[in-house]
C-alpha cells in the first residue's frame, strides 16, 4: 500500500476517524499498532513475524539493561541486540552480496568455486525499523533513556505505520516520550499537515514519477546515449530521488502529525548545500545523524589525529553506502561522499591562504557540491560499474560514442525547469507564510482545487518508492 494510492486514503481516513474517536490512550495505541501491522502485512504478512520478533528481543534486552549494573553484562546484552539486528539485516540484505563477492574474488585468484546465491526476499523497511529498534537499546545502554514498561509502547514505536517502511529513522528518545500521554485533536495543526501531505504527493506523484521513465530509459543502456542525454538523465535522477524520498517523508510526517505525533525532520533543501558536509546536514538527516551518533562517534569521531578522523569519516560513509544495499556501486557512492567530506575539511584549512578563494566559493560552492552529488548519484543509480563508468565518461569527460538521444518532450523540460524555480522560491521562503493567513473556508476550497489540478499530472500506475528497497 503506497501513500499515493486510492486505498491508502481510505485506510488513513478509517484510521484517523477511529483513532480520534477512541478516548483511552492505550486503546488508541493498540488500534494504531494493529493498523500498522495491517499496513505492513499488505506487502507480505510473513515478515510481520520478523518485525514482532525484533521488537520482542529489544524489549527484553531493554528491560534487562534497565535492571543490570554490571558493565560487562550490559555490554554483552547490547552486543546481543546489535548482533541479532545486524544479523537479520546481514542475512536478508547482504547474504547474496557477500556470496557473489567471494565467488568473484576466488575466481580472480584462480580458485574454482561454485557458490550459489540464495533466493532471499528483502523484507520491506527492514533497514529502517532495525535502526530504530537498535537506537532504543543503544540509548538505554548509554543511559539516555529509561526502558519502557509496556511492550505495547515499544511495539508501537517500532511499527508506527507512517515511518515504518521508509523512515524517517525516528530515535526512541524522540518518539517514546510522545506515547505516554494521549494526543489531543485540538492541538493538531491541520492546515500545515494537509499542505505538507499535498507537497509530498506532488513531489512523488507528479515530479518523481514523471522523471522516472526517462531515467530508466537512459540507465538501461547508457553506452548508447549522447553526452546531452547523460546530463539530462543524471539531473533528472537527482530530481527523482530527492522528490521520491523527501515526498515520502513529507507524507509520513504529515500523516503522523494528523494523528498527533511528531517525527524527525529528514530533508532541508539538500541541493542548496554549499559543501558535502552541509549536504549531509540536509539530506536524509535521520540517517546521517544516526550514523554520526552511533557509528562515527563510536569509532572515535574526531577525538584523534587528522588521519584518524579521516579514517572514521571514510568508514562511516562506506558503511552508510552499504546500508543502502548489497552492491559495490553503493559502496563507491559512500566512498565518493567520504572523499568529499575529507576534501572539504582540508579545504577549510587551506582556503584562507588562497587569495580570492572564499569570495569565489560564495558563488561556486553550491554548483560544485551539486555536481559532485550528481556524480555520486550515477554510481547510486547504475546497475553495474560499466554502466556507471559509461555515464561518468559522458557527465564528466563530455565524451560519448553513443548516438541516441533521450526522447524527452521539450515541454517536460519546461515543466521541470518550472518546478526548479518554485523549489528555489520555496527555499527563499516565498511560500512559507501567505497560505497560513487565508481564512479557513478559502483555504479549504483552494485545497480541493489544488488537489484536482495535481491529479492531472499523476501517472495512472505508480512505481514503488525508491527507498522501499533499502
Amino acid at each position: 500500500m503506497l501513500f499515493v494510492e486510492f486505498r491508502f486514503f481510505f485506510f488513513f481516513a478509517f484510521v484517523f476517524l477511529v483513532y480520534w474517536t477512541l478516548r483511552n490512550n492505550t486503546a488508541r495505541k493498540v488500534f494504531l499498532l494493529l493498523a500498522s501491522y495491517f499496513f505492513y502485512a499488505c506487502w507480505d504478512w510473513r515478515f510481520l513475524f520478523l518485525l514482532i520478533g525484533s521488537t520482542t528481543l529489544d524489549y527484553t534486552i531493554g528491560r534487562l539493561l534497565g535492571h543490570m549494573q554490571d558493565r560487562r553484562k550490559r555490554q554483552g546484552l547490547v552486543a546481543m541486540s546489535l548482533c541479532v539486528n545486524l544479523g537479520l539485516l546481514g542475512f536478508f540484505k547482504y547474504c547474496n552480496f557477500f556470496i557473489g563477492s567471494a565467488s568473484t574474488m576466488l575466481a580472480w585468484l584462480g580458485i574454482p568455486a561454485s557458490l550459489h546465491t540464495l533466493h532471499i526476499i528483502l523484507p520491506v523497511g527492514l533497514s529502517f525499523y532495525t535502526f530504530q529498534s537498535m537506537s532504543y537499546t543503544l540509548e538505554i545502554y548509554r543511559g539516555h533513556l529509561e526502558p519502557v514498561r509496556k511492550p505495547l509502547d515499544l511495539a508501537f514505536f517500532v511499527a508506527f505505520f507512517p515511518q515504518l517502511v521508509a523512515g524517517p529513522i525516528v530515535r526512541a528518545t524522540t518518539f517514546l516520550p510522545q506515547v505516554h500521554e494521549a494526543r489531543q485533536l485540538a492541538y493538531v495543526a491541520f492546515r500545515p499537515a494537509l499542505a505538507l501531505f499535498l507537497i509530498g504527493f506532488i513531489k512523488k506523484a507528479c515530479i518523481a514519477e514523471n522523471a522516472a521513465p526517462f531515467v530508466d530509459q537512459f540507465f538501461a543502456s547508457p553506452h548508447s546515449y549522447t553526452v546531452l542525454s547523460a546530463w539530462i538523465a543524471t539531473l533528472l535522477y537527482a530530481v527523482q530521488i530527492y522528490c521520491d524520498f523527501s515526498g515520502y517523508t513529507d507524507m509520513a510526517i504529515a500523516c503522523a502529525r494528523l494523528l498527533g505525533y511528531e517525527l524527525t525532520v529528514n530533508f532541508n533543501f539538500p541541493y542548496f548545500a554549499d559543501s558535502v558536509t552541509d549536504f549531509w546536514r540536509r539530506w536524509h538527516i535521520s540517517l546521517s545523524t544516526w550514523l554520526r551518533d552511533y557509528l562515527y562517534i563510536s569509532l572515535g569521531g574526531n577525538r584523534g589525529g587528522k588521519w584518524f578522523t579521516y579514517r572514521n569519516l571514510m568508514l562511516t560513509m562506506l558503511l552508510g553506502g552499504l546500508w543502502h544495499g548489497g552492491a559495490w556501486t553503493f559502496v563507491v557512492w559512500g566512498g565518493l561522499h567520504g572523499l568529499a567530506l575529507i576534501i572539504h575539511r582540508e579545504w577549510q584549512r587551506v582556503r584562507e591562504w588562497i587569495p580570492g578563494a572564499v569570495a569565489a566559493m560564495r558563488w561556486l560552492a553550491v554548483p560544485i557540491t551539486f555536481y559532485w552529488v550528481c556524480i555520486a548519484w550515477i554510481f547510486f543509480r547504475a546497475t553495474n560499474f560499466q554502466d556507471a563508468l559509461d555515464t561518468v565518461q559522458r557527465f564528466v569527460l563530455f565524451h560519448a560514442k553513443g548516438k541516441h538521444l533521450l526522447s524527452l518532450e521539450p515541454r517536460l523540460l519546461l515543466f521541470f525547469a518550472g518546478v526548479a524555480i518554485i523549489h528555489y522560491l520555496n527555499f527563499r521562503g516565498v511560500f512559507s507564510q501567505w497560505w497560513r493567513r487565508l481564512p479557513a473556508p478559502v483555504f479549504a476550497a483552494g485545497y480541493g482545487s489544488a488537489v484536482a489540478i495535481v491529479l492531472l499530472f499523476v501517472p495512472v500506475k505508480y512505481t514503488p518508492f525508491i527507498y522501499f528497497q533499502f
Binding site: Q184, L196, D250, V265, R428, I453
Partner: protein, 377 residues
C-alpha cells in the same frame, strides 16, 4: 530575505488550544470539508471540459474514421473480436446487393468489447447525426462486466466509466447479487463486490481526470517517434481477418469440443438489462433497424441470453449450432477456438448478410419477421 527551512523542517510549535465548543469546531470542520469537496468537484468539472476523448487503441481510431465518413455508411456492425475479425463489410455489402438490399457497411468490431462499453460506443456513435443509418447489427454475447487482464492499467479499461454507465453496472450487479442471495448463492457476493469497487474506482479516476496531462504528453512523444506503427483498428472499413489455421494442441482441443458439444445452453455472466434497454431505445429513436446475432462458437454462454432476447422481442440470429451451420465449424475455417479465419469469415459474412437481407424491410422476403431467438435456429 532569510532562507526558510522546508515545510517539515520547521520547529515543532503547538498551536494555541482552540476556543469554543466541540460542536462549533466540528461544524466548522464539516463546512471546510464540504468546501474542499466542492472546490475539488468544480475544478474536476472545469478541467475535464478542456480534454479531448482519451486515446484508446481501436476505439478512438474507429470512432474518428466513422465520424469523418459518417455520411457514407448505412449499416454498422458492432461487437467484439467476433465482429472485428469475422465480418468483411465488402463481402457483406455484395451479398446484401445480391439479395436485393443495398447497403454500405462499416465494421465497428472492438477486441474484448464489454456490455457497458458497447452501450458507451453506441451512445457516442449516435451522438453525431447519421441520417443514412438504416441498420445496426450487434453481436449479442458480450455479457462481460469484468475487465480483461489485457486492458489492466490502460486507458481502455477506464474510458467508458462515466457516471451513467457505472450506475447501470451498479444496478445490474446489485440485481444479480440480490438474485444470488435469493437462490442461496452468497459465495459469489465477494466477487461481485470487488467487481463493483473496481468499476467505481475507474469511474472516479475518469471523473477526476487523473493523469490526463501525462497522457497527452505521452501521446505527443509517441507521435514524434521515428517509427510510427499503424494503430489497431485502422484497417480499411474496420475489418481485420485472421490468416492462421488450427494446428497442434488447439486443433485437438477443437475436435474434442466439437465431439462433446451437447447443444444445451451454457451459463453466462450478467445481462446488463438496463443498459441493453436504453441502448435499444436509442437505436430505435434513430429509426435504424437493430439486429442481434450470436457468433458461431461452440457452447456460447446463452442460458440467459436467449430468454432475455425472447422477452425483449429482439431480432436474434443465432449461429452457434454446428448442426445448422456445419461450414462455420469446419477445422479449415477456424483460426483458433473462438474465431473463424479469413476463409471462415468470408462464409460467415455471406450467411449473416443473407439473413439480414431477408429480414430487412427493403427485401421481398421481409415478411419473414421473427419474434423469438429459437425461431431463427
Amino acid at each position: 530575505m532569510k532562507p526558510s527551512t522546508e515545510a517539515h523542517g520547521e520547529a515543532v510549535t503547538l498551536p494555541p488550544h482552540r476556543s469554543g465548543s466541540f460542536a462549533s469546531w466540528a461544524g466548522k470542520t464539516i463546512v471546510c470539508a464540504a468546501l474542499a469537496a466542492a472546490g475539488f468537484a468544480a475544478t474536476c468539472l472545469v478541467t475535464g471540459r478542456f480534454f479531448p476523448m482519451r486515446q484508446v487503441d481501436e476505439v478512438s481510431t474507429k470512432l474518428q474514421y466513422f465520424r469523418a465518413h459518417q455520411d457514407e455508411f448505412d449499416t454498422l456492425l458492432i461487437g467484439s473480436s467476433h465482429v472485428y475479425t469475422q465480418i468483411d463489410p465488402t463481402t457483406f455489402d455484395a451479398t446484401m446487393s445480391e439479395q436485393g438490399v443495398e447497403s454500405h457497411s462499416y465494421n465497428f468490431g472492438i477486441t474484448g468489447l464489454s456490455m457497458p462499453e458497447l452501450y458507451w460506443l453506441v451512445d457516442h456513435i449516435l451522438q453525431t447525426p447519421t441520417p443514412r443509418l438504416k441498420r445496426v447489427i450487434i453481436e449479442f454475447g458480450s455479457d462481460r462486466t469484468i475487465i480483461p487482464d489485457l486492458f489492466k492499467g490502460t486507458a481502455r479499461e477506464s474510458y467508458w466509466h462515466d457516471f451513467p454507465r457505472t450506475w447501470i453496472v451498479t444496478r445490474d450487479l446489485a440485481t444479480l447479487a440480490a438474485r444470488n442471495l435469493r437462490n442461496g448463492k452468497p459465495g459469489e457476493l465477494p466477487e461481485l463486490g470487488s467487481d463493483l469497487l473496481e468499476h467505481w474506482k475507474l469511474c472516479l479516476s475518469n471523473a477526476t481526470n487523473i493523469g490526463r496531462v501525462n497522457e497527452l504528453i505521452a501521446a505527443t512523444t509517441r507521435t514524434a517517434g521515428k517509427h510510427p506503427v499503424a494503430p489497431a483498428g485502422s484497417e480499411p472499413r474496420g475489418f481485420h481477418p485472421l490468416p492462421q489455421h488450427l494446428t497442434g494442441k488447439t486443433l485437438e482441443t477443437w475436435r474434442q469440443k466439437l465431439a462433446d458439444h451437447d447443444h444445451a445452453p451454457h451459463p453466462n455472466g450478467i445481462i446488463l438489462r438496463s443498459a441493453f434497454e436504453r441502448m435499444l431505445a436509442q437505436l430505435q429513436s434513430t429509426g435504424a433497424q437493430p439486429f442481434f446475432f450470436i457468433s458461431p462458437n461452440i457452447d456460447p454462454a446463452t442460458v440467459e441470453t436467449i430468454p432475455f432476447a425472447e422477452s425483449e422481442h429482439l431480432k436474434l440470429l443465432a449461429f452457434d449450432s454446428p448442426t445448422l451451420y456445419p461450414q462455420l465449424f469446419r477445422e479449415e475455417n477456424r483460426a483458433d477456438l473462438p474465431h473463424l479465419n479469413a476463409g471462415g469469415a468470408e462464409i460467415f459474412t455471406r450467411i449473416l448478410a443473407t439473413q439480414v437481407a431477408q429480414n430487412s424491410p427493403a427485401s421481398a422476403s421481409s415478411q419473414n419477421q421473427f419474434t423469438s431467438a429459437h425461431a431463427l435456429r
